[in-house]
Structure formats: C-alpha cells, structure tokens
C-alpha cells in the first residue's frame, strides 16, 4: 500500500496548533437547545472520540463541524482559519469528510461508484468534457479509478466492487461508507458510530481499519462510539457530552476517573 503516507506514531505528543478548535458552540432547533456552549480542540493526526448518552448532542456536533447544521453561536477554527459557520461543500473542500450514524450510502449505485463519488473534489474536468470523454476527463477517470481500486483493496471490498450497495450486509455497508469518505483524501475524518450494531468480531475489524487509516494516511479522526472498551483502546483523546454540555475532556485515563462522567455516563445510566 503506497498512498504517499507519512510515518508517524499516533501516540507522539505534538506541540503543533490544533487542527480543529471549537469555541463556545451553541445550537438550537426551534428554541430547543441541542448543544450549549461547547469548546474543545482536536490535535492533528490523532483519534478523538465523542462519547455520551443518546441525545447528548454528539451527532449534532459532528453536523456542526462539517456544516450540515449552522450553529447560532461560537467559532469553528479549522486549519487556523476561524469560521462562524460552514457549508457542507466548503467543509469538504477544506478536507473534512465523514460517515453517518444511519448509513447514508447511495443505494442505487455500486460500491465502485460510491467510492468514485468520494473523489468528486479531486476532479477538474467539466461535465461536458466528461459527457464526450474528451480533454481532461479520460485521464482523470483513469487516475481516480486507480486510486479507488487501491482503496477497495485496502478495505478488503474486492468481492463486492460491482454490487449495488443497497443489497450488501450492514457491516460491509459501513465499510463502504468509510471508503467513500476516505476516497476524498480528507485531513479530518468524522465517523458517526462506525461500529453501531456490529458484533465483537466486526468491531474488532473496524477498529483495525480505523487505526490503519490513522496510521497509514495520517488522517485525523473524530468518532462517536458507545462501546467504551473500543473507545478506550482506540482513541487518544475523549470528549464527554451530556444534555448538550461538555462534562469531560482529556485522555482516556483522565476521563475514566472524572467523577462527573462516572455519574452521568458510566455510573448511573449504564
């Protein structure tokens, strides 16, 4: 596998400025608060996990980060550029890609086409060039195809290259979605419950993929996950939410001993 990745150890502590910084983010729907005044930082090339009970505002927070929801207050600073809010397209152009809690694949398309769609922003030819297969289009077709085929190998999806994703098993669909996000060669990858509904073995596999992505591509990852054993082993950094507020932030070890977290999340509710 050679995708131009840089070697680095994910545990190495860096003193670089954070890749992503959220400051005082608040979000409400029709006056109902979903997120209240949340701030945290995500260090480049590390795996950060958002945890918290259902309805804590985790997905909403991801949606704010990549521009699906526009927060009423706060600042999102990505790559040192502060934004009040972003559009999904702008976020994608900045290098943010994501997966969804309830798989949001393009069901009527094959695995290959889903992944190719992920390369959208890597293309420069116009649609007319593409329609008539002239100019830059054929060259791009080939290079994108090569890249995507490598990804398919990487994610072990070869058997289903031409299958419509709607007909695939759940676990495979999750992996295809991961691949689609990865096809964009993102700087920041947001994963919304990548292991929901999986059995232990599938979770194990998925964790391996996430780790491999982080290691080989150097991609910064923010993920939401409920299974604490997975989270503790996978992530370098945890942010804990409850009722739209941040109640914990730190390394797995720190969070594990945070009394508020234990009360809200680990102790009383589970």
């Amino acid at each position: 596998m050679d995708l131009g990745s840089t070697e680095l150890t994910s545990t190495a502590h860096t003193l670089l400025p954070p890749l992503l910084k959220l400051e005082n983010i608040s979000l409400a729907f029709k006056g109902v608060k979903a997120i209240t005044d949340i701030s945290f930082e995500v260090q480049a090339k590390r795996i950060t996990a958002l945890i918290g009970p259902n309805g804590a505002g985790k997905s909403s927070l991801l949606n704010v980060i990549n521009g699906v929801y526009q927060p009423q207050a706060g600042t999102i600073t990505f790559k040192q550029i502060p934004h009040k809010q972003m559009t999904p397209r702008y976020a994608a152009q900045q290098g943010i890609a994501r997966t969804f809690q309830n798989i949001a694949l393009f069901k009527g398309m094959s695995v290959l086409d889903n992944l190719l769609t992920g390369r959208t922003l890597k293309r420069h030819s116009t649609w007319l060039e593409q329609a008539f297969r002239v100019g830059r289009a054929p060259r791009e077709d080939r290079s994108n195809r090569e890249y995507v085929e490598q990804l398919i190998d990487f994610l072990d999806l070869t058997a289903w290259r031409k299958t419509l994703v709607g007909t695939l098993p759940y676990g495979i669909q999750k992996r295809v979605e991961l691949g689609r996000a990865l096809a964009a060669e993102p700087t920041l990858l947001l994963l919304d419950e990548p292991m929901a509904g999986m059995n232990a073995q599938e979770k194990q596999e998925m964790s391996e993929f996430i780790r491999a992505i982080n290691r080989e591509f150097g991609t910064t990852i923010v993920l939401i996950e409920h299974d604490l054993s997975v989270v503790m082993s996978l992530s370098n950094h945890l942010v804990v939410l409850d009722y739209g507020k941040k109640i914990g932030d730190g390394s797995p070890e720190e969070v594990r001993h945070n009394p508020e977290v234990i009360a809200a999340y680990l102790g009383t509710r589970h």
């Binding site: 397209r89 976020a91 994608a92 694949l105 393009f106 398309m109 329609a131 008539f132 077709d141």
Partner: protein, 356 residues
Amino acid sequence: MLFTEAGQLATSYKAEQKLFRLRQDYVAFGILLFLAFVALPYWGSDYWFNAILIPFLVLSLAGLGLNLLTGYAGQLSLGSAAFMAVGAFATYNLELRIPDLPLLFSILGGGLFAAASSVIFGLPSARIKGFYLIVSTLAAQFFIQWLFTKFSWFSNGSTSGVITAPPLVMAGYDFSTPVGRYLLTLSIVASLFLIARNLVRSELGRHWMAVRDRDTAAAVMGIPILKTKLLAFGMSGFILGIAGALWAFTYLGTVEPHGFDLTRSFQILFIIIIGGMGSLLGNFLGAAFIVLLPILLSQLIGLLPANHWVDIGQLENAQKIIFGGLIIFFLIKEPDGLARLWQRCRERARIWPLRY
C-alpha cells in the same frame, strides 16, 4: 453463445470504460443497428412507420429526458410535455425566422431553448424537495401551454395556434416520406441515447444518483447540489425539447399547444415507471409498452363480435383501468420496471440450462 463471457476479462480500466464491455454486446448492438437502419426501412410498411415506430422512438426519447431528471437525479416532474412544447415551438420559430438555418440546427436550438426553460423552472429545487417540486413543474406545464396558446406570435400568426412541420430537407435530401422521417428520427434518437449513456456513466451521472439517493451525504462530499440538479433539469429539458420537435415534425407533422398537455406529461412518467427508472433500456421498453398496448387492446376489441350487450366503445375504458392498474402493479412488484425484468431474463439465459 450469445451469453458466454468466460475469458473476456477487462485488462485495463480503459477497457472497462468502453461503451460495451463484452464482445457479444458489440455484436448484438451491431445487429440491432443493422435491423433498425437497414432491415426495417426495407421491410416496414407505412403503417408501421407512421403509427408505431416513429411515435415509439420519440416517446423513448421523451422517456429518456424525464428519466435523467426523475430516474437518475430523483427530481419528480409533471411538466415534461411543457418542455416538449418549448422544443417544438422553438424549432418551428427558428426554422421560420432564420431562413438559412439547417434543420438539424433548428432542432438542436429547440432543445437548447427547452433546456433553458427547464432550468428556470428547476430553480425552485434549490429550496423545495420531493413531491413539493411537482408544483414547480406543474406551473411550467400550465404556464407554457398558456403562453403558446395565448400569443399567436409563436405560431406565426396562425389564428388557431397550430404549427405545421417545415420541409424536412437536410443536406439536399428530402426526409418527408415515412421511411425518411423514420430514419431521421432514428438517427437523432440513437445519437442522443449514446450521449446519454456516456453521461450517466460519467461523474455527472454519479452526482445525479448521489443527489437522488442521499442529498445530504452528497452535499457533505462536496457535490454542488444545486448545480447538479440544474444540470439534470437542463439535460432533461434539452432531450425533451428535441423529442417535442420530433413529435411535432417527424411524427404528427402538425401540433397545437394542447397536444403537449398534462396527459402527455403523465404518459411520459408512466413510460419510465413501467420501463424502469434509472435505466436507459427501460425508456425503450416503457415506450414500446405504451405505444403497443393500446393498439393491441383496440385490435383485440375489434376482433370481438359486435353485439348490443357490451358497448364496444365503453370497453375502451378498460384500457384506462389496465394502465392505472399496471402502474400500481409495477410500483408494488417491480419498482425497477420492465428493464429489471429483462435483466432477470438475461441472467437466467446466461446460466441456462442451470436454474442458478
């Protein structure tokens, strides 16, 4: 033999991106073209050209136009006929007002005008989704029909708003015989289908399907949603416009705005539901179905002995019921239409004589 694929492996991505991957497909396609361009003109009768083949081809094309928008890009439209009308009337006026413009350019121009109007009525898709969009397309349907009926400028001052075909002469060859009109229609339809095939397999085609399947996910991946939708409206309008021009000039020879009414829009929608949404072949199958079924039914009814217990004319109402029933049936049992059925047959034939 026709379905033996063993050993035909694509050895490069380029090979895979060719028009057809399998040798048989090329052979079959060649035979089909030969049949359509050479054998049929030789064997067909006037009745076949005038009453079956030409409307079949034009409706297939119209189906393609709507299919790009609805089947591929997921934007429901009930205004297809309006854009056909724009195509027909624009072609007529281009031919009339720019005397030296070759016919083919007038038709293409008609397509462009239709594309432009389709994009305008597609603009609200920026804010509204799903079947709410039918409001915009119905607005197009009623407004455009009104426009052409109301202002006789569009029909060159004809008091009745009816336009008639310009002479079908192209490069000195007169296409006004039934065979000529058939060949002209066939050539245009075939070329547009080839372009459409390229298009739906290109990046734009993937964008359309992405917007159709999950527009939020598409936006998150950086697909420009509005531009993608408007391109679908534009391409759809372009093809519908050309279909409208052909409908008016190579099929009927004359047309009035009322000929492109809501019923026609429904008819085109039915073509893609029955034929198969998101399938190019489906347009042909759906159009064949919609052209042939009424004729078959009416012939069969004609074979019944006349009697006074059943009013023969009333029996034709059964046709409406059959159509409506089939729509429901297809939506329930085979949402992907005849094209999917055909694919199943092929898959079965491929492994024949084994069952699976």
